[in-house]
C-alpha cells in the first residue's frame, strides 16, 4: 500500500518536474509580474483595503489563485493523459486500491501547488517585504485549498473525453469563481446582495482565511472557513472515489 502510494506520488512529481518549463516556470513568472505591476503600480492609486496597502492586500489572494490553478491543472491533465494514452491500465491491472490511486494523484496536485505557490512567494519577496501573521493558518489553508482543487481536477479528468474538456471548466468556472471570490477586493466593499452571494463561493473562504494567515484580519470566522472547506473536500472525495470505483469512463 505504502509503496504503491509512494510510487504514484513520485511518478506524479517527476511528471511535472520533467516538464518544468511548462508547469512551474510560467506561473511563477506571470504571477509575480502581475502582482508587481498590478499591485505595485496601480495599488498606490487604489489606496488601502481591509486596513493594509493594496499590494500587500492582494498578494495572498494571488498566491492562492496560483495554487488553485496549478493543483487543478496537475490532476486534470495527469489523469486525463493517463486515460488518453491508456497507461491508466497499468494501475487497473495492479492490486492498488482506489483510495491509494486517488490519494496519489491528489498528493501530486498538492506538491505542484506548493512548489508553484512557494515559488511565487519567494519571487515576490525579492521586491516586497512580506510579513506572515500566522504560518499555521497559511499552511492549513494552502493544504485544504490544494486538496479541494486537486480533487476537482481529478473529477474533471474522469468526465473529460477530449483535450477541450479539460480546459472548459478552468476557463469558464474556475476563473470567474476565483475572481469573484474576493481575490482583488475585500467583500466588505460590495453591496449587501453581492456580499451574501459571495458566501456561496468556496473560494471566498479560502482567500479570506489565507489572507488572515498573512495579514491577521478577515471578514469571516476562520473556523467557519475551515469547516466549509473540509466539508467540501469530503463531498468531492466521496464523489471522486465513487467515480473511480464505478470505473466511469475508465472501465466499460
Amino acid at each position: 500500500m505504502w509503496i504503491a502510494y509512494k510510487t504514484i506520488v513520485v511518478k506524479e512529481i517527476l511528471r511535472f518536474t520533467r516538464i518544468w518549463v511548462q508547469t512551474i516556470f510560467p506561473p511563477i513568472i506571470t504571477t509575480s509580474l502581475y502582482l508587481l505591476i498590478f499591485g505595485g503600480l496601480m495599488g498606490e492609486r487604489i489606496g488601502d483595503m481591509q486596513g493594509v496597502d493594496y499590494l500587500h492586500f492582494i498578494i495572498p489572494g494571488i498566491i492562492l489563485m496560483t495554487v488553485i490553478q496549478n493543483s487543478y491543472a496537475n490532476t486534470v491533465s495527469s489523469f486525463f493523459l493517463a486515460k488518453f494514452n491508456n497507461s491508466i491500465e497499468e494501475l487497473l491491472i495492479s492490486p492498488v486500491s482506489y483510495w491509494v490511486i486517488l490519494l496519489g494523484y491528489i498528493s501530486g496536485g498538492i506538491v505542484r501547488g506548493f512548489v508553484v505557490g512557494l515559488g511565487v512567494f519567494i519571487a515576490v519577496s525579492f521586491f516586497v517585504e512580506l510579513q506572515i501573521y500566522n504560518i499555521w493558518i497559511v499552511l492549513m489553508t494552502f493544504l485544504l485549498t490544494a486538496i479541494l482543487f486537486s480533487l476537482a481536477g481529478f473529477i474533471n479528468a474522469v468526465f473529460a473525453k477530449s483535450f477541450d474538456d479539460i480546459s472548459i471548466v478552468p476557463t469558464f468556472i474556475l476563473m470567474p469563481m476565483t475572481y469573484l471570490g474576493g481575490m482583488f477586493y475585500s467583500v466588505e466593499i460590495l453591496p449587501e446582495f453581492w456580499q451574501t452571494l459571495s458566501k456561496f463561493n468556496p473560494i471566498y473562504y479560502m482567500v479570506d482565511s489565507f489572507r488572515m494567515g498573512f495579514l491577521g484580519s478577515s471578514t469571516t470566522d476562520l473556523l467557519v472557513s475551515m469547516l466549509v472547506l473540509t466539508t467540501m473536500i469530503m463531498v468531492l472525495a466521496i464523489v471522486a472515489f465513487y467515480l473511480l470505483k464505478k470505473g466511469v469512463n475508465i472501465k466499460t
Binding site: I3, T7, I8, K11, E90, I93, S94, G247
Partner: protein, 304 residues
C-alpha cells in the same frame, strides 16, 4: 489438478449492445502453453480484458488458480501478468521507470524492482535504452518493453494478446524462444493470435473463438491429426478416362484434366505410381490449400 484459469458462462455485452462474448466456457491447466485463436473481432481482447480486470463482465465467472476473481481481486491480479495488444504506457516516461513504477504498484520496493528490471531489460535487449523515453523505441522494442513489464512482479500466469503483431521475424523467433523457456520453468502462458503458425509452433492446447463463442477446445496434437490428411490437386497430361479407377485413396474429378486426391496412409509417389498403372499420367501436383487454414475456416464458418 487446480486449473490455472477456469471461465464459466462468461458473457460480455458492450454498451452499444454489441455482444462480444456469449456464454464462454474455457479452462487452462497449470503449466500449459495455451492459444486462443480467432479472427479479428472474435472477442479475444474482450476476454482478456475481463480476466485482467480492465473490463467488467456482463455475467459469468472467472477463477484464477481456483480463486474467484470478484472475491479475491487483488490476489488474482498478483498472479497474472499481461502484455496487451495496444501500447498502454506513458510514452514520455523512461523505459526503466515504467518497469520500476509497475513493480511499485505491486508493492515491490524500489531496489528489488531495479534489480528485477535490470534482468528483464537485459534479456529483452533494452538495457541500453533504459533511460530513453518509451516513445523513442521502435515498435518491436515497445512490445518487448510491455513483455518485460508483464513479468516484473513474477506472475504465475502470463497472458499475451497478439504478441507478434508488428514484430519482425527475427525478434519474433527470439521472443518465442524466451516464452518457451518461461513455460519450461513452469509458467502458464496464454496467448491470443489470429496467426496459425504461431499457435502451431508454440502451444500445446488451443481454443478457437468465433463471434464470441468457443467453437473448439482441444490439444494442438489432435487438431493437427485431423488435418494430417493431405489434399492435392493433380493435373494430367491427357484427358482423364470417363470412369476413374478405384484405388486406396479418395479421388474426385475436378475437370477434364484434373483430379483432387486425399491421402492418408499413402504417400505421393505411391499415389502417382498407382495412377500411372491405370494409364493416368500426372504432370503437375499442387497442394489444395493450407491444411490448418482450411480447418480453421471450416470451424469458424460453422458457427456463423
Amino acid at each position: 489438478m487446480l486449473q490455472a484459469l477456469s471461465i464459466s458462462n462468461l458473457t460480455k455485452t458492450y454498451a452499444n449492445n454489441m455482444k462480444a462474448l456469449s456464454s464462454v466456457n474455457l479452462s487452462v491447466e497449470q503449466g500449459d502453453f495455451f492459444a486462443l485463436l480467432g479472427s479479428n473481432g472474435a472477442g479475444k481482447t474482450t476476454m482478456i480484458g475481463i480476466i485482467c480486470s480492465l473490463l467488467n463482465q456482463t455475467s459469468g465467472e472467472v477463477l484464477v488458480l481456483g480463486k474467484d476473481q470478484t472475491k479475491h481481486l487483488n490476489e488474482v491480479k498478483r498472479m497474472i501478468g499481461l502484455m496487451p495488444q495496444e501500447f498502454n504506457f506513458n510514452p514520455f516516461e523512461p523505459v526503466e521507470e515504467i518497469l520500476v513504477n509497475q513493480a511499485g504498484y505491486y508493492g515491490i520496493d524500489r531496489s528489488s524492482a531495479k534489480a528485477q528490471a535490470e534482468i528483464l531489460l537485459k534479456r529483452m535487449e533494452l538495457w541500453d535504452k533504459r533511460l530513453d523515453m518509451a516513445k523513442s523505441l521502435s515498435g518491436g522494442m515497445k512490445r518487448r518493453l510491455m513483455l518485460a513489464r508483464a513479468l516484473i512482479h513474477q506472475p504465475k500466469i502470463l497472458i499475451l494478446d497478439e504478441p507478434s503483431a508488428g514484430v519482425d521475424v527475427e525478434i519474433r523467433r527470439s521472443m518465442w524462444k524466451f516464452l518457451r523457456e518461461l513455460n519450461d520453468q513452469g509458467m502458464t502462458i496464454i496467448l491470443t493470435t489470429h496467426y496459425l503458425e504461431e499457435a502451431e509452433s508454440l502451444c500445446r492446447n488451443i481454443a478457437i473463438l468465433d463471434k464470441g463463442k468457443i467453437v473448439e477446445q482441444t490439444s494442438m496434437k489432435k487438431l493437427l491429426a485431423r488435418v494430417s490428411q493431405q489434399v492435392l490437386i493433380l493435373e494430367s497430361t491427357e484427358q482423364l478416362p470417363d470412369i476413374l479407377p478405384a484405388l486406396d485413396f479418395k479421388i474426385e474429378r475436378l475437370d477434364a484434366y484434373s483430379i483432387q486426391v486425399s491421402l492418408n496412409d499413402v504417400n505421393i509417389s505411391q499415389a502417382l505410381i498407382a495412377l500411372s498403372e491405370n494409364k493416368i499420367e500426372i504432370e503437375h501436383v499442387r497442394s489444395a490449400q493450407n491444411r490448418l487454414e482450411t480447418l480453421f475456416l471450416r470451424l469458424t464458418s460453422k458457427a456463423g
